[in-house]
Symmetry: C2
């Protein structure tokens, strides 16, 4: 059924080697031969056998996406889903496959296997937390790896968005609108992104010449429930604005604010992070930071393939920009902008 290199060679009257060169875009083939072989390849629908190629060359065109941590958290989050999408698209565009390795430590088995032999050309690693226990075995495997999200480990290459800068920007925006008691519902401390956003929040307040009021900081998780809990706690301290570290948290906060009989943005301004579809549909629409997780995925693949193509000892980093999306929830109507 499926043709082999040898058969294509015979059909086009050249040698195995020449067909191989054509298929792999090796320049040392005359234009005429190349064209002819290409025709035959097309006509016969020939595709090289991946296993054979992998065996002979010692590499593959498979990228592993390792997403550890509690799966419920991971996958219910649209962020990861978009990320995965970006990975898949980018990999496809570059003739690579994405192999999935989801889940918690029970997947240790698979991770081992992925890491060990030449199964995959590289790994995209989505760390669940700072110093994820999977990091070490993955690094030890010597397989090229890109982490999604910053890592303190200086052996790790990563792609990330500018969490700190974005958080500072949106917090500054709230301050510039006249809010003074700007609170934040932070993400879990063990997540680098959460720590960075909190740091950005602090930086904005200090840059504005105010002192950070620790009672206006509540650490929670990224979920909607987490946002509700955080908001409930913060309401006691009478903030006039809240920066939630994720849109889902902002949604929870919104419900809580409303339950307290307060108006958004008049009584309390609200801002989120992510710009999930949900954000624009909230009532009022949510001011937030737009990040494009698909871009992260694409960038990760690009970086990874680059690292594979031209190995370097030092890790590489890519930081993606974000956009501040101003909507009604922060109270930045024209008249308010001026006050």
């Amino acid at each position: 059924m499926a043709r082999t290199l040898e058969q294509i060679a015979e059909l086009s009257g050249v040698s195995r080697s020449t067909v191989s060169r054509v298929v792999n875009d090796d320049p040392r083939v005359s234009e005429a031969t190349r064209e002819h072989v290409r025709d035959v390849v097309r006509r016969e629908g020939y595709r090289p056998n991946l296993a054979a190629r992998g065996l002979a060359s010692g590499t593959t065109n498979v990228i592993a996406a390792v997403m550890p941590g509690a799966v419920d958290n991971i996958l219910s989050d649209p962020f990861f889903v978009s990320l995965l999408h970006g990975l898949a698209v980018a990999a496809d565009e570059r003739d690579h496959f994405v192999m999935l390795s989801l889940g918690d430590t029970s997947f240790r088995h698979t991770v081992d296997e992925i890491a060990r032999q030449g199964v995959v050309a590289g790994i995209v690693f989505v760390a669940g937390q700072v110093d994820d226990p999977l990091l070490e075995p993955l690094l030890a495997s010597q397989t090229p790896m890109v982490s999604i999200g910053r890592s303190d480990d200086d052996r790790v290459s990563y792609v990330d968005v500018d969490n700190r800068g974005s958080a500072q920007q949106i917090t500054s925006h709230l301050l510039r609108l006249g809010h003074r008691r700007v609170a934040t519902i932070a993400g879990p401390n063990f997540a680098p992104a959460a720590a960075d956003r909190l740091a950005g929040y602090r930086a904005a307040i200090e840059a504005f010449g105010l002192r950070v009021d620790e009672t206006l900081i509540y650490e929670s998780d990224f979920s909607e429930a987490g946002g509700r809990v955080g908001m409930r706690a913060l309401l006691e301290h009478r903030p006039d604005a809240v920066f939630a570290a994720s849109d889902r948290m902002a949604a929870g906060a919104l419900n809580e604010i409303r339950a307290a009989g307060l108006q958004i943005p008049d009584d309390i301004a609200l801002a989120g992070f992510d710009d999930m579809p949900l954000a624009a549909e909230m009532e009022p629409p949510l001011t937030t930071v737009r990040q494009r997780p698909e871009r992260l995925g694409e960038a990760a693949v690009a970086l990874l393939l680059d690292m594979i193509a031209t190995p370097a000892s030092s890790p590489r980093r890519t930081i993606l920009p974000t956009d501040l999306i101003v909507r009604a929830s922060c109270g930045s109507r024209q008249d308010q902008k001026e006050r």
Copy 2:
């Protein structure tokens, strides 16, 4: 670095063949030899090279998950995410890998590649619609395949939940509670699950001795927005209960009902389908049909590996049960049950 079969053979003083037998659990090895070789394998951390194994045996332990259709729709839906999770877990448990092929027709390329050569042992196919255009090439590839969700094509093996029966059950429940003008917001007609749920709805009404009122049926998409639109249209026809074909639609319907100043369940009872986490948290909590997409994923892997192990000409089907989850939104308090 990585050892080969041959090296393990030498280290344990037996032949390549014997090690291969041990690794592959071939019974034709004496217990003593087996133990000894196992020890060496463990000690050396030996893992067979997948590419070599694939080349020699002509098969792999990779399963492709092909999820076509508009990705935004697919991946924003927790259903697919859970499904993917189930696939990944089940595959891992059975020493298989999941290769991801997301996306629309731009992925045709990858699908081609997956289908053609012996890259994957089998395919789990998530059809976006009836007669998905990807179905034909996938079938033509002769690769064992399991579809998630029913297919009319009698060459297709699939796993599915009992959409029709579940919809009939929940609709009957509404009827038994005393509701007579039971409407439904159906899913898109091209989705088999949507068609089945609608059929179940019709069946329940007829089984109850009523006539189906076509004005009480609104076809929409599975999204929350779709639910809102559908509910808005249905409100004109004064239903006293609504069965939404997904929880997300139910959420949209709920907002719309509330916006119309009506009470749930007193003015209009509401029921959904899926039992997403959201359902229990709605106000009031949503009566719905629980399906476990992870189970679908597991079942698909189980069926697929079964088909690979013992090929049969006729397609196989697995239908998974669902649970009716009664909560407050349908108005089934004790006193109402009796009226």
